[in-house]
Each structure stands twice: as structure tokens, then as C-alpha cells.
């Protein structure tokens, strides 16, 4: 691997996607994590380092119920779809 100064050509091709995904994908997700620590004052979200939101969610039964149900559905569909795919593939590959 040769390390030299990147050419204009390589930057024009590679940077747009990087900038787009950083600005509109990575940053919003990080921002979402950041505002999970914010608190509400006077009906406004204010920057803060507050673990109240996390505490409330993690100690609430409904959250864990929903989480367990999601996990169960995800596991079931993963197993089923892989089984479907395996059988279909076996059919396609039969007699080869």
C-alpha cells in the first residue's frame, strides 16, 4: 500500500458519500443519544446530563415486556427465514 497525498479525483469520488452519511446519518444518531440525557424544563428540551430518562425506561415493566416480545419475534423470524431459505436452496441445488 503506497501512502501519498490523495488526489483531487479520489476526494471528489469518496467524500460526498462520507459527508452525507456523517452529517445525516451518524450525527443524528449520536444526537439522539445525546438528547436522551437532556431534561425538560418549561416544556422545552434543555441540554443536561440527566439519567432520569434512562432510569424511568429501564425500571419500567412495559419496556422490558415489549423488549422481550421484540426479541422473541426477531429470533423466531430469523430461525424461520433461515429454515425457509435452507430448504429452498437445497431444492435449487438438488442433483447438482
Amino acid at each position: 500500500m503506497t501512502r501519498s497525498r490523495p488526489s483531487l479525483f479520489s476526494l471528489v469520488l469518496s467524500l460526498p458519500l462520507l459527508i452525507w452519511q456523517l452529517a445525516f446519518f451518524a450525527f443524528p444518531l449520536l444526537f439522539l443519544i445525546a438528547i436522551s440525557f437532556w431534561s425538560v424544563r418549561n416544556f422545552q428540551m434543555t441540554p443536561d446530563l440527566n439519567f432520569g430518562n434512562w432510569e424511568r425506561i429501564l425500571t419500567r415493566g412495559t419496556f422490558w415486556d415489549a423488549y422481550a416480545r421484540s426479541a422473541m419475534l426477531a429470533t423466531a423470524s430469523a430461525v424461520l427465514t433461515v429454515a425457509f431459505a435452507a430448504i429452498s436452496f437445497a431444492y435449487k441445488e438438488r442433483g447438482k
Binding site: S10, W20, Q21, F31
Partner: protein, 266 residues
Amino acid sequence: MTGNRNRLINAGLKLYILVCVLFIFAPILGSFVFSLNSDRFPSLPLGEVSTEWYRLIWEDPFVWAGFFNTVIVGLIVAVIATVLGFGGAYTDFRYNFLGKKVYLALSLLPPTIPVVILGLAMLAFLSRVNLSDSTVSVIIAHGVMCSPFAMAIIRLRLSQMDRDLEAASWNLGGNEWATLRHVIIPFTKPAILAALFITMAVSFDEFAVAWFVSGLNETLPVKILGFLQGQVSPRINAIGSLAFLSSITLIILAQMLLRNASKDRP
């Protein structure tokens, strides 16, 4: 093949595939059948064949507004996502650099993030920078979600390319730009077109994120939810059938392009 011995198993597997396909398409087929049914409620036995619901949506300005928004967003997103995806795919094909893994992860991750989380994050972010509630915000969000598809398709095509072609072009005096224009783009053209169609179809069908960020400029899928909440009308079946038809057309076009492309591989 081991001959007759497996005939029963073969038939069973064929039946199984048929059942799978039916299982996938039955709801869509049902929606299509009921869209042509004159009865107000989807029930058996079927009433008369009628195009009443298609006429109603044809005359509905809300449907047209939603459709118009969807098409505008879809076209712009297709171009943006394909350009971004092409750049990413070529970068992966051609260069090795520090942090390439991070670059690829960042480019290809969006489809793995739950759409509700993505939508929420987009809304939180875009409303901060005063870009929410507009068509632009849907385009931004769909650009994020669609470019990985474009990148994957074009990357696949590039991987079929003979690396010597590029070197030959440089040898013949073409600089990087000329090589891109006369060698790379012509070679990847089927994939580029396919990426345009696929990303447009993805944008067409995308609901959750559009629902979060579209505000008043709703796309068609968001409008359909509005319809469902208002009243259960067979018009939804008609819209659904048309939406399915346009998406499947785009997908089939893309598939045909890719299939032909891999046939004439050097």
C-alpha cells in the same frame, strides 16, 4: 439426479416453493382483487367487478398531491443516492486507505438501523436545523437510506470488471477523469441504471422515516396511513395496487438490466 426415486420429494419441494410464493403474494393479490370489487367492505362472496375505487382516487386531489410528492422525492433521491453510491463503490474498488473499514461501515450501515429509530433521530436533528416538515427533509433522509443500495449494486458490477482495463486506459494516455468517463461509467452503466430504479423504488415504498420527517408534504405511503385512520375505504386497495405495480415495475426493470449486464461480462 437420481431419477424416479426422488419424484415425490421433488414434487413436495415444488409445492413448498409454491406455498411460499403464495404466502408472500396472497395479501397483495387480495388487495388487488378487492380493489376491483364493488362492495364497500372486503368480504366474500365478491360483488360485481367495478373500477369505481380507481375512479375515486383518480379524482382525489389528496392522492395526486401525495403521488406527486412521492415521484419528486423518488426522482431526486434516485439521482443523489446513485451518485453518492457510485462514488462510494468506486472508492472501495480502487483505493486502500486508513479507516476504509469505517468508511464502508458508515456507507453500508443505514439499512440495519431500525427505521423508527432512524426516523426519530432524523426528526430530532432536522428540526434542530430547521429542515423538518419539508420535502427536502424527506430527500435527505431517503438519500441516507438509499445510497447503500446503490453502492451495493454498483460495487457488485465493478467487482466483475477487469482491473487491467483501467491500467490500459491510463497507458493510452487517459487521465483519471477520462478513464472514469470512457471506461468505468460505460462498464457500470447497467448497474447505474439499475441503482437508479432500485433506489427510486425504495424511496417510493419507504414509510416510517417519511412519516416522521415529511410534515405536511406527505408522500403517498404516509397518505395511505392517513386514509386508514380516517375510514376503511376500498380506495386503499386501489392505491395499494397501483403503488405495488409501480414498485414492482422498477424492480423488474432493474433486474433485467443487471441480468443482461452479467451476461455480456468479458
